[in-house]
């Protein structure tokens, strides 16, 4: 799986991940306090400038941001139809700024940095006995490891349908996929415990 991180050496790349995440949260809250168009337009321009400073390139940025921008545009259009033009512009500018800032943080923070941050943030919860912080990294690794395998299995089940002249249907695909995949759980769990990875009671 390709991550959305982009190699680079911009100011944002060099900032510690925690500063970026806190900054993003603060910006998200601040954006909802601006209700008129001029400050929101300025915010959108600043966000666009920050995103542009990463040097991702226009075509590549479009490919990344299009699905989310489309949702925002559809909602803005719907607001325009049922509300006023001002409301529609507010929604469009506010959410577009937020999208650009969030995408900038994602593009400049590697997965490892994120996992470190999350593990650190989970420490207080660990003290309360709610989660084990180390489990987070472990499970993320497991998911990434098994997605390609599940896709292969999906293709195999689809081929099996074709070979028998059956039409692949979501139900007859999903059930064997789920059962075959989850049946691995015991082996994987045994392998993890045998290596003492979770070092637990």
């Amino acid at each position: 799986m390709k991550t959305l991180y982009v190699e680079g050496d911009s100011v944002l790349h060099r900032l510690p991940p925690r500063v970026k995440l806190l900054g993003l949260a603060a910006a998200g809250i601040a954006l909802f306090f601006f209700r008129s168009i001029p400050p929101l337009a300025v915010a959108a321009l600043i966000s666009a400038a920050i995103y542009a400073s990463l040097g991702i390139g226009l075509r590549h940025s479009l490919a990344r941001l299009r699905p989310i921008f489309l949702t925002i545009a559809v909602v803005a259009l719907f607001t325009l139809l049922v509300g006023s033009a001002e409301e529609a512009a507010t929604v469009l500018l506010r959410l577009t700024s937020l999208m650009l800032l969030a995408a900038a943080v994602t593009a400049t923070t590697g997965i490892g940095d994120f996992i470190d941050e999350i593990t650190l943030a989970a420490r207080p919860l660990e003290r309360l006995g709610l989660v084990k912080a180390a489990d987070i990294g472990l499970s993320i690794g497991l998911v990434i490891r098994f997605v390609p395998e599940i896709l292969d299995r999906y293709r195999a089940i689809k081929d099996a349908h074709r070979a028998r002249g059956l039409k692949p249907r979501i139900l007859t695909l999903a059930v064997p996929l789920i059962i075959l995949t989850l049946k691995n759980a015991d082996e994987i769990a045994a392998a993890i415990d045998a290596r003492g990875i979770r070092a637990q009671k």
């Binding site: 799986m1 993003l24 909602v75 409301e87 998911v143 599940i150 999906y154 059930v175």
Partner: protein, 187 residues
Amino acid sequence: MTTRDLVLAALFAAIIVALGLLPPITLGFIPVPITAQSLGVMLAGVVLGSKRGTVAVLLVLLLAAIGLPVLSGGRGGLAVFAAPTTGYLIGWVFAAFVTGYIAEHFVDRSQTGFVQGVNFFLAALIGGVAVLYAFGITYLALVTGLGFSKAFLGSLAFIPGDCFKAVIAALAGRAVMVGYPLLPQRA
């Protein structure tokens, strides 16, 4: 959580991610194309139950947040949490929990297959549609300032597709329970 529970949740998270990579399907009688990913959220509840199902969905959202394009249509990164539809993503967590909770408490091995199927359907419908839309519509209404009735109107087109998914989730949930039961059974 035992290691097995953790692995089951992670494997199911991987299934939800894989479902998001499948192309959306269009059904003749429903206006919008439906993606299989939100079906995965209902399935997490009916197959794994409340706790492990919730963890599976949380893992998918965590992967999206740290910059992996795991959501349907290759979406990912923190930007997906800045969209007007973010409420639906937050709702996923509660949808899986409620679906799983109902499935655990109301589906019993001693029931006939039909009753099990109906109970699974109700679990998926209440959790995966009612709870999900409560979060999605509330968020949409607040973030865009549309107001509840208009936000509801805008979401209406997606509801038939999700009810259809609840039927699939119920049938699949029962089939998996017969083939490889995992739901922690409680009276």
